[in-house]
Symmetry: C2
């Protein structure tokens, strides 16, 4: 599916954009990171003094749920050093195809887990796959999983129905205002086209759909696996069925409260045998728009002629909670001009030489980091 091999870092002409680099990690995270390093070299090359003190943190586990970042950050000496900083930022390429920048003040938390139903644990059903004709006298772990899943959400699959599940704080007027403003600027038609979606949940209009996106937690089925999964059918009664799930969290929900709630909910309904295997997760991340780290971003963007769309939070997740949560309570966010797309997907790209006046290329991205560092130093 790649038009050039993922490790070739080929420079290609992208119509309407200019020269772009195509490759695995081009935009997430190598392109913006190298542009940031270029900014540091530029400052040094111009014999200028760095306007701020910088500490570089390289986190190599973000894509597997960052299992160790908290351990590192909360080492007494690291935590003490971090406590004295303005905050934490990640190089990014924030411009969309219109040049617009959406400045997210946070991200949802997430818990990823598997629900596993087996005959062995259940003590009912078979301990291995058996002939499906035996369903007439043997219980089915696959039906058991379906019945358990059914209790977790409302009939339309959109409202979490787990007993004593952590509750979101209501969305604030300030957040509602951001969403209303952002919904006017962002294109509903483009979003629907990108996702191949005809209707939002409950046929909500665009602004309401965005309020839901920002304010609501989710219970999502990432994958269902059980029994025979190849082409056609196979007459087996499977001994095991699995639902891969993720649960997104908004403030003030805690990742640590999710699994106990699910386990208690299932146990109460006769599904206590179903394993709830959490593979990773963390709390939501939130920074105040008034934080100097964020205000410096806004100032740089405005100087570049960009009125950023302020946005309560990314509906996805990153482990910013280790910085924004207790006890550090630092501001955290992404920043950087430039454009790229296709993270984790074929033909991931990052624009190097832009022919679109609304979008910065590599030089402009590097310059945005220089501007940002000087703005932070003020």
């Amino acid at each position: 599916e790649w038009t050039s091999p993922p490790l070739d870092a080929a420079l290609v002409d992208k119509p309407g954009l200019g020269k772009a680099i195509i490759g695995r990690g081009a935009v997430n995270q190598k392109g913006p990171e190298s542009a940031f390093l270029a900014a540091l070299h530029a400052i040094k090359g111009a014999n200028k003094k760095m306007p701020v003190n910088l500490v570089m943190v390289a986190e190599g586990e973000e894509e597997i749920g960052s299992p160790h970042i908290a351990q590192i950050v909360h080492k007494p000496e690291v935590q003490a050093a971090l406590a004295k900083t303005m905050g934490v930022f990640m190089p990014s390429s924030m411009q969309d195809l219109d040049g617009i920048v959406t400045l997210s003040l946070g991200a949802k938390g997430v818990v990823e887990l598997e629900l596993v139903s087996t005959g062995e644990k259940w003590g009912r059903g078979p301990g291995k796959d058996i002939h499906s004709s035996l369903k007439a006298m043997v219980d089915s772990p696959a039906w058991h999983l379906v019945k358990a899943l059914n209790t977790l959400v409302s009939e339309d699959g959109n409202e979490i129905a787990i007993d004593n599940y952590p509750k979101p704080r209501p969305i604030s007027d300030e957040e509602k205002k951001m969403i209303a403003d952002g919904a006017k600027i962002r294109s509903e038609a483009q979003a629907k086209k990108q996702m191949s979606v005809q209707h939002w949940i409950n046929d909500l209009p665009w602004e309401q759909a965005n309020i839901r996106l920002e304010s609501q937690p989710t219970a999502n089925i990432e994958g269902l696996v059980g029994g025979y999964t190849g082409p056609g059918g196979k007459t087996v009664l499977p001994h095991k069925a699995v639902a891969k799930m993720d649960f997104r969290l908004v403030p003030d929900m805690k990742a640590a409260d999710v699994v106990p709630a699910i386990k208690a909910h299932l146990a109460k309904r006769g599904f206590g045998d179903i394993e709830v295997n959490m593979s990773g997760g963390y709390d939501p991340t939130q920074s105040a728009a008034s934080a100097p780290l964020i205000q410096a971003q806004i100032a740089v963007l405005k100087r570049a002629g960009i009125e950023p769309v302020m946005w309560p939070r990314n509906a996805g997740s990153y482990p910013g909670f280790v910085f924004t949560g207790e006890p550090l309570k630092l501001a955290s966010g992404h920043f950087g001009l430039g454009h790229g797309s296709g993270a984790h997907a074929p033909d991931e790209y990052y624009v190097i030489e832009s022919t679109n006046p609304k979008i910065q290329g590599y030089d402009g991205a590097a310059m945005s980091f220089v501007e940002y560092l000087y703005e932070l130093g003020k």
Copy 2:
């Protein structure tokens, strides 16, 4: 998983059994079929007149649901010829490890199908896999499938809850008697061990569990497939989820009534978009114990010192309905001494030279066919 290559037809010593041939199709269906051909050669070789007129039917599609056998059988000239016969039998190796023969008077019918939930058909949810964070504003075809499946069966997954679903005829006293007698002879402990099962449905005792096996239709999940199915997780909201299912039918249920009932049931509950794709199936098969074809089998078995376990029907399926159903209403069944096991599985075997006095080898199997033909000719 094969101890000798599946196409080698290796002769091996099996402890307690003797020389056995190991290979794909050893017992289902090549071993018993070749023993039957050997019986015909023996009769010819002894210069004897065949005691009955035989027509050989080779059906090569049984493993894919026999989509064409009915078309062939119901050709006017074939049907007219078949109408004049005593019935239809398939060579088999009916002896279990104790030498006991279970003589099934039929088989359940079956319908195999896929329930497919997609964003495209639903008109809700995404038309391709999208980032799972979007669950907060986009409906989920996977949840939609779970909710639809949930309506098909009772809370324990064991009773079919589909509106206007074809109903089984109640089990007869004669069938109950067969099951009671058979349950005494067949080992519950061995059955539980073979299937790795600790409890039958509803903790039924052995005889009741067998009554359930014989008398009840099933709704079974063969497989669940949706979204990301590899190791670990992946934060996607899948556009498609599939349940592979089979439904076993007992007399007097009709395969043709199953899909319309499921479709109407789903449509009534708001799941009319879920595709119900039937890939194959047929009606139950039943023959009378009093049919000459069956009585001849019993006579041969008794002469061999075997009191067969009479059994209402195989809980699995074969397309005997084309012979036993309207308009032919012929008797149909399997027959043959000898032993083998592992159909469709690694190390499938068929005993050639038996060291177990209770079990016939290849010669004994061939001889059982000779005896059967002469018994039929009486």
